[in-house]
Amino acid sequence: MADEFVQAFIETGWMLGIATFFSIAVGVPLGVFLFVTSEGMFWQNRIVQSIAGTTINIIRSLPYIILLVLLIPLAKALLGTSTGPTAASVSLVFAGIPFYARLVESALREVDRGVIEAAESCGASPWRIIWDVLLPEAKSGMIAGLTVTVISLLGYSAMAGMIGGGGIGDLAIRYGYHRFQQEVMIATVIILIIVVQLIQSVGDRLSKKANKMNVT
């Protein structure tokens, strides 16, 4: 059983790692895009904005189980296999990106307009403003959002068992739920709690560090 825990742990780490990576790599640009095309911002564009928003909403509207199933062909096409943790991470990626993009968007909304204007008044290009003003200023909120995202993805990853994804959550479901083995359930839940505590406290620390409003 210890072996299985180790393996499950590795599988979870793998799935979360991939999903987190893409959530950041795609979710951040998408969130920025949603923000900078919104009303009053430099790339204001109602049509493009609502297309992006709607696409996100469409993906967001699919319950994770359905998303998992719908994306099997994609996983197959991309990876050559439709089962296993890597295949499961395809759907986690798709769940994570729009979720995180929305949180990035809200974090950006909290950036002081005056600071953006100050950058504009220097003649800064939109890219420069995004890179040097929006992202740093929203970083603290974005990290807090990432914490929420990763923990949610951890929860979703438990369902990856539907397509043989494995992982800690799956272990809990297979043994604790399907086999009524309370001890496994408890053990996995304890592991999950520790992992979540870890994610949360690392997230809190980084978020606080990124916030320069209350430095001393």
């Binding site: 199933v69 089962t83 296993g84 799956d170 043994y175 739920y177 399907h178 009524f180 083995q181």
Partner: protein, 256 residues
């Protein structure tokens, strides 16, 4: 698809649903195959569709979770070409209750939990119909019948389809609950305490399934030999009490 199968037949990848069938593979079959130098790689699914898709796609070599009716229905709808090879020891579905001792306790308005997956829901409805408690539309495929297809419910029974593993957990709540054998055993219910146990027909036995055309592959033979072995029969007697035995094991039983 040769890769998954393993060129040297050293590894067999097999998909199974979490529970008795993956357990019997892991604890009963894998050790036997290991002696022959074959590694059995078990992937656990908790779903009834993905194992077939994975098999069709070649991600796995075989799967073990379904009966023949379900498979033919699946092949028909999904256009897959999968074939059922041989049955394995199967846990029968049964009706349990914490409040009632027999079918005679029936009263109007009782609640009954049933597994919500296609096959087991149909099986449960089938049993209810056999008690004369309700009537299912004869025009629907008996294998996909759902609670919506009940055309006559004279006792106004409240049918409550739940996730299969949730049915034993609903016993506190419902008057009767249909529980798949595997979940009954796992959750500590005894088949002998069931109000009624399904007279499992051959159609409802769980079959080892592979892709069409691979019936004669060496790995299939290896699996077949393992299942038919004496060792596995002993395992079954020890670990799978109350299971419905497949024909080859019934023979072994007869021999004893």
């Amino acid at each position: 698809d040769g890769e998954a199968k393993g060129e040297t037949n050293q590894t067999i990848t097999i998909g199974a649903t979490a529970g008795p069938y993956s357990d019997q593979l892991k604890e009963g079959i894998a050790p036997i195959l290991k002696e022959k130098g074959i590694k059995l790689n078990i992937i656990e699914f908790h779903d009834y569709i993905q194992p077939n898709n994975a098999l069709e796609e070649g991600d796995i070599d075989a799967n073990l979770f379904q009966n023949r009716l379900y498979l033919s229905n699946f092949n028909e709808h999904q256009g897959t070409k999968l074939t059922a090879l041989f049955a394995v020891p199967t846990a029968p579905i049964a009706m349990y209750s914490k409040r009632h001792q027999s079918l005679d306790d029936l009263e109007p308005g009782m609640t009954i939990s049933l597994p919500n997956d296609t096959v087991n829901l149909a099986r449960s409805l089938n049993m209810l119909e056999s008690y004369g408690w309700l009537t299912v539309d004869p025009n629907v495929n008996p294998i996909t019948a759902s609670e919506k297809d009940v055309i006559d419910n004279p006792y106004h029974l409240k049918l409550n389809p739940l996730e299969a593993a949730a049915t034993p957990r609903s016993l506190e709540d419902a008057d009767f609950a249909f529980v798949n054998g595997n979940y009954a055993i796992a959750s500590g219910l005894k088949l002998t305490e069931a109000v009624d146990v399904e007279q499992t027909s051959e159609d409802f036995l769980i079959y080892l399934t592979v892709r069409e055309g691979e019936e004669d592959e060496p790995f299939v033979q290896a699996l077949k030999e393992a299942y038919e072995s004496e060792e596995f029969y002993t395992y079954t007697l020890e670990h799978s009490q109350g299971y419905v035995l497949p024909p080859y094991q019934q023979e072994q039983e007869a021999k004893k």
